[in-house]
């Protein structure tokens, strides 16, 4: 297929996944902010949330101090913020419109409906919308798009590029979400293992729609090691880093098979899967959670570049 078409498909998936992450981040922030004793330290949870989403600078420029109401607007409705939910939905739909013919009517409908609905949501007075309404709406739209892709799209290279987009974006985003925890805790290391610490971990699990699954899988007390294992190393957890990277690797393998040629991108993805497969939670904490995540995010970025060069740039020979 045209490289540009593949690029558009890849980005549809990335934007949908990113929109979902943004609304999950909002949920994490709102929940953490509900705990009475969390106002300590020199940096608020909201700030850390902006840091993790990579939007802190843009926000500070526009609004200054992080106030929940402004953050909600900035992360959800603000077109000046390229990562806001509305920016992501609009771009996903625009990418879809460009490659309309590579999509089924159902996939296009899902993208187009999300676009039409968020424009209506935007016109509603902000005071009439609950935050949970927004986050649930986003999650639902994302599920509709994914469902339409799974149920109706031809299993060809286009399907692989969509899944590759979902997987790489998810790998990056989950890592950033876990990193929020790092920012929140940084000023008070002595909180580790306290009730507040555990509460924050729970919020994170909840935001990833994974707290029940976690309890089924691990039971007993919530510990940092268990959670790290669950969100990073457990293949059963659909948002775990290893699951996302495995999905990316599978899509790359499918492409290699379809095109009859394999390159450095396949090797790199396989190597990342292998590394995570052998890793244990303790080793992550030895390295430092933040350090590990930073390295992981960089690895995913490099893999994305390789994908771009191999398939999306149009320079393939």
């Amino acid at each position: 297929m045209l490289s540009r078409t593949a690029e558009n498909l890849f980005w549809i998936a990335r934007y949908i996944e990113r929109a979902e992450t943004m609304s999950r981040l909002l949920e994490v922030g709102a929940r953490i902010a509900l705990i009475p004793s969390s106002g300590h330290g020199y940096r608020s949870e909201w700030e850390s949330l902006l840091q993790a989403s990579g939007t802190a600078e843009g926000f500070a420029e526009k609004y200054g101090d992080p106030i929940q109401r402004n953050i909600e607007s900035y992360l959800f409705f603000d077109r000046d913020n390229p990562s806001s939910v509305i920016s992501c939905i609009e771009r996903a739909r625009e990418n879809g419109r460009i490659v309309r013919t590579a999509l089924t009517a159902q996939v296009w409908d899902a993208l187009n409906m999300a676009f039409q609905e968020i424009r209506q949501l935007e016109r509603k007075p902000r005071s009439e919308i609950e935050l949970t309404e927004l986050t649930e709406w986003t999650m639902r739209q994302s599920a509709l798009v994914r469902g339409a892709i799974e149920a109706t799209l031809l299993r060809n290279d286009g399907y692989d590029f969509l899944n590759l987009g979902f997987a790489l974006e998810r790998a990056d985003n989950t890592a950033r979400l876990i990193d929020v925890k790092y920012y929140v805790l940084l000023p008070a290391v002595d909180f580790v293992g306290t009730g507040l610490d555990n509460y924050q971990w729970q919020v994170l699990l909840r935001a990833l729609s994974a707290h029940r699954a976690f309890h089924w899988a691990y039971g007993g007390e919530i510990t940092a090691a268990k959670i790290a294992d669950f969100l990073i190393l457990n293949r059963q957890s659909p948002r775990a880093l290893i699951a996302a990277i495995t999905a990316a690797s599978d899509s790359l393998e499918a492409l290699a098979e379809a095109y009859g040629k394999s390159g450095p991108e396949q090797m790199r993805a396989r190597a990342l899967v292998a590394e995570l497969a052998e890793l244990r939670a303790e080793e992550i904490f030895e390295e430092g959670l933040h350090e590990f995540l930073t390295r992981f995010i960089r690895d995913v970025g490099e893999l994305s570049d390789m994908v771009y060069n191999a398939y999306l740039s149009g320079e393939a020979r």
Binding site: M1, L2, S3, R4, W108, L255, G314, A316, R317
Partner: protein, 470 residues
Amino acid sequence: MTDYFNEMYETGKVRAPYARLENWTKCMPAELRQMKQAEAEALFRRIGITFAVYGEGGDPDRLIPFDMFPRVFAQAEWRKLEKGIKQRARALNAFLLDVYGRAEIVKAGKVPAALVYQNEAYERAVAGFTPPRGIYSHIVGIDIVRTGPDEFFVLEDNCRTPSGVSYMLENREIMMRMFPQLFRENRIEPVDGYADALRRTLASVAPAKCDREPTLAILTPGHFNSAYYEHSFLADLMGVELVEGQDLFVEGGFVWMRTTEGPKKLDVIYRRLDDAFLDPLCFRPDSMLGVPGLMDVYRSGGVTICSAPGAGVADDKAIYTYVPEMVRFYLGEEPILQNVQTWQCAKPDDLKYVLEHLAEIVVKEVHGSGGYGMLVGPKSTKEQIETFRAKIEANPDNYIAQPTLALSTTPTFVEEGIAPRHVDLRPYCLVGEKIELVPGGLTRVALKDGSLVVNSSQGGGVKDTWVLAE
């Protein structure tokens, strides 16, 4: 109002082609009609068939109003139209081949040399080059108006990239979905063979160097273009890639697509891009939309461009006057379809007449399109007429004028019920190995009461166009 030919009612009686529609409307109460109208609109919006009006801003996702009342032709009426359209398409192509080659028609004194060679649309860059099968205009859109039971006139020819065919196809699709009963009661010729016919046409003009099943693509200016929907719609129907300039490059005398598997050779390009933007090395150097080097490949026979660059010289409004002459000169036949009488303001006598009769006639820019820059005398205020007079006097060469035609009307759903509204017709004639015409076209309707301007940018709508089988 009695001056206008009503295609459904003639002296109070229903004309045969519309016979079964009378009952249909009688059985449709206002509420049902409104419901159906809303349903149609929702369908159009869902498939994303929208258009943007240049220079107007506003909602980029605007819909062209769709009128559910079909416009109907009897088989015999259509057969005559079909013959006339095909004849005209052949003559226009013969003219193009001639003026870029030996120019016999100019030498014979039938068409003034200056009109051809000093024309903006004459491309020196393709002179002396013969495209495959000698065809320049592969999709000819001919705008036709009707003034009586057996009176049809050609308003203008479109030899470059006539748009609107997606409406012809979608209008039918939506009508069939909403009123299947109508299609059971009336035997209506299908139009859905258009995409296959277009594909066949394009494949039949692949370059001689192409030794396998040719690869086709549609070249679009991009997704910001107002006709992007149509480009993507046609690409999908034909199963070919929709490419932008950035997706293509030239190497080794061929054009290649950038794909995820490496370069793929392209043989035929159906371009929906003006000549000026095709190749910055040959035409506008600032064009970001084209493919550098494309024209070199084209002229050395490595790729076919449809319609051929330079085809516009045949559909210029000043050349239009000579089309009947082309039919006689090249085909040795009498033209089946008549031209509208045209005064060329470049000619002193004509100019005089035009300036004296501004209130009665229609004045158009020679190179204008889309209903912009025109004056409809009888519908204009004194002020508008005087402003236009000044424009004509300043640059007479830029204008032609035609009598105000008594455009036929067809019944149309309006606020108050059903009322006659003026219509025109654009059929799409395909010219390749064969000349093909699907039975139908795009009927445009002036929705404003009394208006004669059918352009979508000026408040026009569209209708499904039926040709009844025998």
